[in-house]
Amino acid sequence: MADAELKQKVEELIAANPVLLFMKGTPEAPRCGFSMRVVQVLDSIDVEYGAIDVLPALQPLREVTSEISDWQTFPQLYVNGELLGGADIVEEMFDSGELAEALGVEQPEAAPAAASSAPAANATPAQSPPLQIE
């Protein structure tokens, strides 16, 4: 059973951020390869997104997302309030152009692998909404 207060906070964050990434580490310093792959995809698309580091409260957040979206592993990308997927799905949808479509942006011409070799240049600064976890 997930912590009710944390669950409510997470639901509010998902509702308040059209594009929200739950990840291990931060966009600047991902602490897991799967999280890094999603950050690279998002950075190669011109989209603003919120990012939440799940590591400080990994187990409680697993329980929360388990109840909200029936999904326990991170990263998790939420678009317009719905869980779109983790690294596999995000990359697959990026490659097919479905991700850009879901985000309402233009598909960039460079592939994510190429974009990731020059990360900092025009990367959109990610906003990390404050998520205080006791």
Binding site: T73, G85, D88, I89, E92
Partner: protein, 77 residues
């Protein structure tokens, strides 16, 4: 403990009758697997819903620690 790839395939096939399933050991350590699944049940489902079906089929092996990671690739036949 390394996962039995054949068993993982059978678990997915049992959950999704008619599916074509291939499971490979991605890292050679037996606990990071990749499953490629084509199943008629995926029709009209979002990708996340398709992945949920596959992960649910093998949840027992996640719970007992046999598998640490399962990459999933789904297609509709």
């Amino acid at each position: 403990m390394a996962a039995d790839l054949g068993e993982i395939e059978r678990m997915i096939e049992a959950a999704l009758p008619g599916a074509s399933v291939e499971v490979v050991d991605e890292t050679g350590t037996g606990d990071h697997l990749r499953a490629t699944v084509t199943a008629p049940q995926f029709e009209d489902l979002t990708r996340i819903a398709q992945h949920r079906l596959v992960k649910a089929a093998v949840s027992e092996r996640f719970d007992d620690g046999t598998i640490h990671a399962l990459s999933v690739k789904t297609t509709v036949p």
